[in-house]
Amino acid sequence: MRHLLLALVCCNLIYSSVWAKVSYPRQKISITGGTHSSPVALTIKDLEAYKKQDQITIHDPYNKDILTTFYGFYMKDFLNLYAPPAYKSVRVTAIDGYKVDIPKQDIDKSNLFMSYKDKAGFLTVDRMGPARIIAPFKGVINRDLLLQLGVYWVWQVKTIEFIK
């Protein structure tokens, strides 16, 4: 009896691991003003399929400076897929209404990174997902520097609009 129960549990685990569906966040990220004539709505699954993930490890200043590894890609690489020629900036809007214009040169200069996943899993909205924009840096960022860079730290990314 004991062996039978053990076998059932193992099978369940194997079944779960093989057949279980990966739970992607429901929300989508909308890209407007790009090379496509109409807005493009990307799911997290689409983002995952884009290319092999990059990763960065930073002390997250908005989560008690805990050392966290984020997975995603550099914005300049991703935006080039959709960017119109000679765009000047991108306007990023969050679910909570926060809006910021990021100039093109700052995207390159600050090496902005768009993350959709960390070691705990996909970033859900209550964990600043479905995507968040990070400016990578070394060590614990001091509050003065965060004042300068923090404006580009957009969480709960909802839309990305190219501005010419």
Partner: protein
């Protein structure tokens, strides 16, 4: 308290003391300013943190309100998609709330936020219940419950935010006080700095003046040493030179007489004798000048002398030189009966020196003349010596009475004549001056008149 003179003398000590005092004051003000600035910066830092936390609370509130609106619109329009938006807004509110907690932990915030985690978890559970149903709009009561819960949570969060601002306003008041203090410190620093500069400049000026005085006195010391040495040497030198000079002079006279008695003598020979005579006389004059320098004159007595007699004696001394130079020499005899109190030899020496200078200056000019005139005033008598020269160059006027200063070549002038003359006149209670206003070269000897007779001790009054 130091007097000004004492302050000058002990200026080094005062300098160190004042500088030390100002430095200590400066350091104190700097330290207090630094502390005040630090307080200021701490308050500003805190203010920013509170602003950020306040913003996060408001963003959370905003998310909850948007969530409620989406729910109500979904019910009204029967649009299930809007329930997804409502959940997104609620999750966004949770996200901002978590960031707030993170900020408060790191920043060691004054006031930790109330525990809203339980309320947010309740909302999440309620939404899960909604999404568990086949039709999300099916249970309107559940949706309205979510809306009410969100509304209650919003009220709590508004209270939290208001409390944060109440604390903030107290800090802002403290900040403005610190700002005012900072301004006072700034004024204090500026005043300290200006005072230090003034003190520094003041002592630099004093130092400069002292150095100048020292240099001037050093030069005078050197000069006086030279004069003193010269004076000491002169008596001995005069004696050493005088002896052979007397022999030369005597033998010259004999030689001259013998040559003059020879008929058809070579003119060149006579001329050479004359040259030797003149130079011998010149050596005698120089010796006399040195003797005068070495003499203090304090043993000679002042005696009354009629001016006419003075002029007679002077004429005797200079007549030959005047004649050989073919200079028109006139003495105004008016007031010549005036009596002056003088040391006879010295006053003759002064007048002779002035006339000799004039002769040397104008002898090669056209129509040379020398005039001597007397003017009588209530308290003094002036003897004015004027020659046909056009005056002394303004460049030299300031220095003509300085010892060893001479406009003649080194072969002719010792540079001592006028300085000795001035010294003699001073001892007489009078003066020797050069009249710049006169178009010609004019010297004025001022002597005490006979109303103030002089004794051995100098000029006195009745």
């Amino acid at each position: 308290m130091f007097s000004f003179k004492e302050w000058n003398r002990s200026s080094v000590i005062t300098d160190i003391f004042v500088n030390l005092l100002m430095t200590i004051l400066f350091v104190i003000v700097i330290s207090l300013s630094f502390r005040s600035t630090n307080d200021n910066a701490a308050i500003q830092d805190d203010t920013f943190k509170n602003h950020f936390q306040s913003r996060l609370i408001l963003k959370s509130i905003n998310g909850l309100n948007n969530s409620r609106n989406e729910i109500l619109m979904a019910i009204q329009e029967k649009n299930p998609e809007l329930i997804n938006n409502a959940e997104d807004q609620m999750l966004g509110a949770i996200s901002n709330y978590h960031i707030l907690l993170s900020e408060q932990t790191i920043g060691k915030s004054i006031r930790p936020s109330l525990d809203f985690e339980k309320d947010f978890k309740n909302l999440k559970v309620l939404f899960e219940e909604v999404f568990a149903k086949e039709n999300v709009l099916e249970d309107t009561e559940l949706l309205l419950k979510i809306s009410r819960s969100a509304e209650e949570l919003v009220a709590l969060m508004y209270t939290e935010e208001s409390t944060l601002w109440a604390k903030e306003s107290i800090k802002l008041h403290a900040y403005s006080e610190v700002k005012q203090t900072n301004l006072y410190f700034f004024y204090g620093l500026t005043i300290c700095f200006l005072l230090i500069q003034i003190v520094f400049v003041y002592f630099t000026i004093i130092k400069y003046r002292l150095n100048k005085k020292i240099n001037h006195q050093h030069e005078r010391l050197v000069l006086q040493t030279r004069l003193s040495t010269l004076g000491m040497m002169s008596a001995e030198l005069a004696h050493e030179i005088n002896s052979p000079l007397m022999v030369i002079d005597g033998r010259l006279r004999i030689l001259s007489n013998e040559i003059n008695s020879v008929p058809n003598i070579n003119e060149k020979l006579i001329k050479n004798i004359d040259i030797i005579k003149r130079n011998s006389k010149r050596i005698q004059d120089i010796i006399k000048s040195f003797k005068t320098m070495s003499k203090s004159g304090e043993n000679d007595i002042f005696e009354p002398l009629e001016i006419s007699l003075l002029f007679e004696e002077v004429k005797d001394l200079i007549s030959q030189k005047i004649a050989s130079s073919q200079i028109e020499f006139t003495i105004d005899e008016s007031h010549s009966d005036v009596i002056i109190a003088v040391r006879r030899v010295q006053i003759v020496q002064v007048l002779t020196n002035l006339i000799n200078n004039s002769i040397d200056a104008i002898k090669d000019s056209a129509n040379p003349w020398i005039k001597i005139k007397t003017e009588v005033f209530e308290n003094n008598v002036q003897i004015i010596v004027t020659d046909s020269g056009s005056g002394i160059d303004s460049l030299h006027v300031a220095n003509i009475f300085d010892p060893f200063y001479s406009t003649k070549g080194s072969a002719e002038g010792t540079g001592l004549g006028l300085s000795i003359s001035k010294k003699i006149m001073k001892e007489h209670g009078g003066s020797l001056s050069y009249n710049e206003a006169c178009p010609n070269t004019q010297f004025i000897l001022t002597l005490i008149s006979k109303k103030r007779p002089v004794t051995e001790d100098g000029p006195t009054t009745y």
